[in-house]
Symmetry: C5
Subunit: 335 residues, 5 copies
Amino acid sequence: MEANDHIEPQLSLELYAYNENTLEKHHITSFLQLHPFIASPYKFWLNVIGIKNEPLLSGIAEIFEIHSLAIEDIRNNQQRPKLEEFDNLVLLISKMLYTKGNISEIQTEQVSMVIGKNFLITFQENEFDLFDGIRTRLENPLGKMRKLGPDYLAYTLFDAIIDEYYVLLEKLYDKTEQLEDLVMANHHKSLLSQIYRHRKSMQEIKKVVWPTREILSSWKKSESTFLKKKTQPFVNNIYEHSVEIIENLEMQRESITTLVEIYMTNISLRQNEVMKTLTIIATIFIPLTFIAGVYGMNFEYMPELEWKYAYLGIWIFFVLTTAGMVYYFKKKKWF
Amino acid sequence: MEANDHIEPQLSLELYAYNENTLEKHHITSFLQLHPFIASPYKFWLNVIGIKNEPLLSGIAEIFEIHSLAIEDIRNNQQRPKLEEFDNLVLLISKMLYTKGNISEIQTEQVSMVIGKNFLITFQENEFDLFDGIRTRLENPLGKMRKLGPDYLAYTLFDAIIDEYYVLLEKLYDKTEQLEDLVMANHHKSLLSQIYRHRKSMQEIKKVVWPTREILSSWKKSESTFLKKKTQPFVNNIYEHSVEIIENLEMQRESITTLVEIYMTNISLRQNEVMKTLTIIATIFIPLTFIAGVYGMNFEYMPELEWKYAYLGIWIFFVLTTAGMVYYFKKKKWF
Amino acid sequence: MEANDHIEPQLSLELYAYNENTLEKHHITSFLQLHPFIASPYKFWLNVIGIKNEPLLSGIAEIFEIHSLAIEDIRNNQQRPKLEEFDNLVLLISKMLYTKGNISEIQTEQVSMVIGKNFLITFQENEFDLFDGIRTRLENPLGKMRKLGPDYLAYTLFDAIIDEYYVLLEKLYDKTEQLEDLVMANHHKSLLSQIYRHRKSMQEIKKVVWPTREILSSWKKSESTFLKKKTQPFVNNIYEHSVEIIENLEMQRESITTLVEIYMTNISLRQNEVMKTLTIIATIFIPLTFIAGVYGMNFEYMPELEWKYAYLGIWIFFVLTTAGMVYYFKKKKWF
Amino acid sequence: MEANDHIEPQLSLELYAYNENTLEKHHITSFLQLHPFIASPYKFWLNVIGIKNEPLLSGIAEIFEIHSLAIEDIRNNQQRPKLEEFDNLVLLISKMLYTKGNISEIQTEQVSMVIGKNFLITFQENEFDLFDGIRTRLENPLGKMRKLGPDYLAYTLFDAIIDEYYVLLEKLYDKTEQLEDLVMANHHKSLLSQIYRHRKSMQEIKKVVWPTREILSSWKKSESTFLKKKTQPFVNNIYEHSVEIIENLEMQRESITTLVEIYMTNISLRQNEVMKTLTIIATIFIPLTFIAGVYGMNFEYMPELEWKYAYLGIWIFFVLTTAGMVYYFKKKKWF
Amino acid sequence: MEANDHIEPQLSLELYAYNENTLEKHHITSFLQLHPFIASPYKFWLNVIGIKNEPLLSGIAEIFEIHSLAIEDIRNNQQRPKLEEFDNLVLLISKMLYTKGNISEIQTEQVSMVIGKNFLITFQENEFDLFDGIRTRLENPLGKMRKLGPDYLAYTLFDAIIDEYYVLLEKLYDKTEQLEDLVMANHHKSLLSQIYRHRKSMQEIKKVVWPTREILSSWKKSESTFLKKKTQPFVNNIYEHSVEIIENLEMQRESITTLVEIYMTNISLRQNEVMKTLTIIATIFIPLTFIAGVYGMNFEYMPELEWKYAYLGIWIFFVLTTAGMVYYFKKKKWF
Ligand SMILES: [Mg+2]
Ligand SMILES: [Mg+2]
Ligand SMILES: [Mg+2]
Ligand SMILES: [Mg+2]
Ligand SMILES: [Mg+2]
Ligand SMILES: [Mg+2]
Ligand SMILES: [Mg+2]
Ligand SMILES: [Mg+2]
Ligand SMILES: [Mg+2]
Ligand SMILES: [Mg+2]
Ligand SMILES: [Mg+2]
Ligand SMILES: [Mg+2]
Ligand SMILES: [Mg+2]
Ligand SMILES: [Mg+2]
Ligand SMILES: [Mg+2]
Ligand SMILES: [Mg+2]
Ligand SMILES: [Mg+2]
Ligand SMILES: [Mg+2]
Ligand SMILES: [Mg+2]
Ligand SMILES: [Mg+2]
Ligand SMILES: [Mg+2]
Ligand SMILES: [Mg+2]
Ligand SMILES: [Mg+2]
Ligand SMILES: [Mg+2]
Ligand SMILES: [Mg+2]
Ligand SMILES: [Mg+2]
Ligand SMILES: [Mg+2]
Ligand SMILES: [Mg+2]
Ligand SMILES: [Mg+2]
Ligand SMILES: [Mg+2]
Ligand SMILES: [Mg+2]
């Protein structure tokens, strides 16, 4: 432990110690400052920024006796969302999802939470303002957060994270509607690659939300001493959100599948139209051209050529044939 | 609580107090009027209209000790149907589905029910006449509703709601049959967008009926003191309805999938027909036109041109070739 | 009860009272006749025809204390097949399926059975001869039916009903084979609508057989006092039938899906053939026609026109070009 | 029983009585010969050929007290594979699958086994040489078969049957590879009907292997006194085989689905090629033919006709236009 | 046993005996050398190369009392991955997957592990350098491997094997991206057969990873005395890896399915383009050619032929018609 103390210069952690009556904000600059809080009757929230900072993580791990596998999961920001119960604490890995404008570029930020007897430690790569509202609520001495344990605090953070999923769902939905309009009205060549990207976005969200639902389902049923009975109705609340998001994703996926079918059918319908144009023109004029060709032949003995009204007659024939064909195609509803 | 009493002016609630012998209808204008009923040996039904009315909801919540999460679900009219058991009551969120004429515009109205020891509270956004029949049945002193608890009353309301789903199912079925006829007879360009909207309608109903089945399945197995054993065979009855509706939706969905396939095949068949027309005409006349072109050439030495029966001969050749081709196409069953 | 007695004129029920030694057939014309049987040590089978006969049903319900929900299910001939255990009896709803010649017009007849301590009551809309064989077997004093309880009698009736499903399965299978031949040999336009109707027939059977399997699975595991241990191996026997029917339906469904694919591919192949015919003819004759057109031009200075062997030469050119093209298409395996 | 003795003339059964020390082969010609074995301390295997032989089956049933439903399953050679535990014995129905050369003609032979306290009875329609190896192993006094009970003997027979499934799987796999080559290289019209038959073969195997897996899963967990603990690791071994076969079938099914897709795409690609040929020829020559047609017109005042180099010029125009078009199509990668 | 000693010449096994304080490497050349280790308080790891070496395997089996079915699984390198608990040891069959460059040629190497009271025996066909890192970690006297039992050593080996799966997943992902680019940009004829091979690669990995997940799930829940509680969090860690790999495979499979759809749509779009080119050219020039043909006819009485501006007029007509058609096609967005 002392070894770690030597390389602590950049330590700069935020810690909220609280109970029903008091709330104190501390700025932690040395690991030594943490020991009194662990032993105290206060609950506290320690927010750790920078999961790539090796000495920081191993220091925290040592002080709070976090299992090496848990620290490995916290460090690995590709970790699948999970809830794992250890003997002395509970590990929860969640994912913040956000996007800058375009739904096809979803970004992920891992938020790990360690829930112990009287503490919550949160780990993030970068500082985010998503939790500002929670800090404010923590300042309210009458709020549930101050009465209930660190697991309730973890729930409120998770709730804030899941609320952001709805923002993405909204954007996804807008994109689906936009694709719907494009398919119905028109057909660009790029439509399918847009749909491909759209499906990939859905997959990315699904990849996070499915295990999130599993986590919440486990939490609801958990008998860990660190996850209190009193918090479970609240956890059920966000569990239902996760179920709703999954159902929404599934319904959008079905809609997209149907849109692709419509798009492909429109291509076929358009090809039919092109083919009909060609066939009508060719069917009318190819036989007429043949007739004209016949009377362009140079045989010496072709009696019709000398008839007075032959030329007039052949024009009448041309016009009647054309009219007949147009009538036939109209009857067949070709145009 | 007194604070709430101050902003009660618009309070206007309907309350039915009843037991096997008596039925009294009360008009509640102040929260204070409610307390005697809670303590009384009567069962009562309180019908609350206007879930956006904040003071109304928080007043009710306080008096009946409804959990804040339950009130939040009642207020949020996008809540997924659910059954949740709290220590002192049971919350049931259901959805009325209805449509004005056109099945493609399904409307939803949330009906929340709170079942307590001796009371049922129902919450709706707007007044509906769906429950009029139940009020009438409540007036019958020999009916089961008067003998059994508030959970049985909740069941009858839920039953009335689910009965309305069948009305929609009927309309859905009519639309499916109409699409069936359209696909079989003919093919408009708008057919696929109609099918798309039709599938969306099915999804909207499915979104409500699936969790409804879950609710009813939970209710059947529930051991809550507020959900009595005696009501369970009745709940099983509407549980079976929900299963039946789901099966029907599934069968219609399969039918629609097959219809889309038929529609696409019809497009292909029609294109084949167009192509065959073109090919027959072109295959007959293009070679003939070539022959006519040959005898339209201006070479000085072309012996056939001077033959006496050349022109007659070439017409015979034209007719025979055409007849041969027509015979060939007939044999190939091209028309 | 007395009220019901007044409107009993049309009562005409068949009742078999039996034990290992005796079998008596009674014709019931008044509800009063039924009471002695209930109290007697005999087992009896009461066959009720006419489920739309309100006074009849409510009379039976009152005498045998059948739950109102059970009577409602018996009366509703759209009821999904089910097995429901009540305190004093077991309700089983089954469906007879039959068809007059054409598999695409499946007809359904509901057979409801109420199994009590010493009786079986069967309810049907119309009299059917399906149960004649069972009446004969009942007359055999050495048969199991006489030794075992009314649940065994119910089993034999259900067995007779399920045996009829195999008849339909056979017809379904014949139709599948017929469609198979049609798809392989040829392609009518009506084929897809035939397949559509065929799939609907399968759905109708599936709709009955799936819940039938559920019923039999429940019966096998039931601990009801009215469903005896001794009957369970027999029930397992028809349970296996239901599983087999479901597997058969599923396999036919897969075959039909593949047939549709083959049908669509055949359409494409045929279109390819049409297109190739057109392309071969056009590719050969269009260039030749151009050449003929060139020598049909009227320019004053066209030296070839005066050459002696020009006309012969051009015919040689025509023939060689055609032969070359034919060779090229042969090599490309276009025909 | 005596009644049966009268019609026993054709009785000719093989019986092996054995224990760790002795093995005796007996030829049974009368039912009376069987009684001493049942009562003896020896284990024995009775092999019954000819399940259509009514007196034989009912005689065996009577002597060994086989339930009438079990005998019915043994007699019905369409019976789905199953394992059923009765009070005094266990019934196992299995299927031998084999084929003479062509995988598309799979044949089935039912092998039923009845496992009792000290005996195994096997029932087959026809004699097969599949079990010869087992007879040989039985002769080895040190083998497990002699030490362990009749359930182990049943296991070895079942193992031999399942080993034959691998032979079919191998043939199926060869056919899949053959179809793969056909699809990749070329496209016959018969390919899809071959694939259709291939899928049917898979279905037939699946129909046997799925319930076989169920049987083995039940056996592994069975607590029947006739199925010993010691045999269970061996049963697990063939259980794993059945899982493996199912996975293999599933993978081949997916491959076939993909092959059909590739086949259909190849048809489209080929059609594209045909269409491009037509379009190139027509696009080049139709405009040229028009130009030739223009100078074939017979107007009196057509100044170009008299120009000296007009004919040369028009040929230059023809050649340049064609070259331009060819360049354009090359650039568009049409050929 | 002595019999085996006679044919031991080629015996050459590596054995690590270790506890928290010591690590000794032994080279085993005779089975007799093994007995002292089994009885010693040391833990040891015996690495067996060459599973086709019959006397070697049967010698090991005899000394360590490995069940004959377990030895059979070890010997059969087509064995599905599995975890099986025997009375005196646990058998784990895993698969190393690797590929030389090209993902479409995945190679498999079976690694079997036998975990006993104080030993781990590993069986491989060929020597691999994958385990070198583990040998190095074993040399570290402070590592968990030295403290914990042979099951932990087995876990580290399995972990190393599963880490290699990620290497394949990476390559698979690269290939998917490459196919994505090919589909988006262009369309070779070979694309579908590439996709076909790609899907087969996925299947091969899936075939290994699915049972691997099952193994790890069993291990997590196992109550075997040879699989210690302390190792379970580590096993959970690689269990999560297997889940992640499966999810990734599933997502790639969905992407590939969508890519095939896009590819097929691109073929259709391209065909539309070809058809439009043909139709535009033919629709413009065929009618014009007809008109030219008309004035190429040789009728004696054709007044227009003598008009002065007829030729000019007809050119104006040609140009205007063409312009009109081009305008019409532009308006229809055909090009
Ligand atoms: Mg759902
Ligand atoms: Mg879902
Ligand atoms: Mg869904
Ligand atoms: Mg789902
Ligand atoms: Mg769906
Ligand atoms: Mg598709
Ligand atoms: Mg169903
Ligand atoms: Mg369903
Ligand atoms: Mg279903
Ligand atoms: Mg379905
Ligand atoms: Mg479903
Ligand atoms: Mg489709
Ligand atoms: Mg099945
Ligand atoms: Mg099935
Ligand atoms: Mg289905
Ligand atoms: Mg299936
Ligand atoms: Mg199924
Ligand atoms: Mg299948
Ligand atoms: Mg499809
Ligand atoms: Mg499978
Ligand atoms: Mg699998
Ligand atoms: Mg399957
Ligand atoms: Mg699978
Ligand atoms: Mg799969
Ligand atoms: Mg698949
Ligand atoms: Mg397809
Ligand atoms: Mg998955
Ligand atoms: Mg998943
Ligand atoms: Mg999936
Ligand atoms: Mg999935
Ligand atoms: Mg999916």
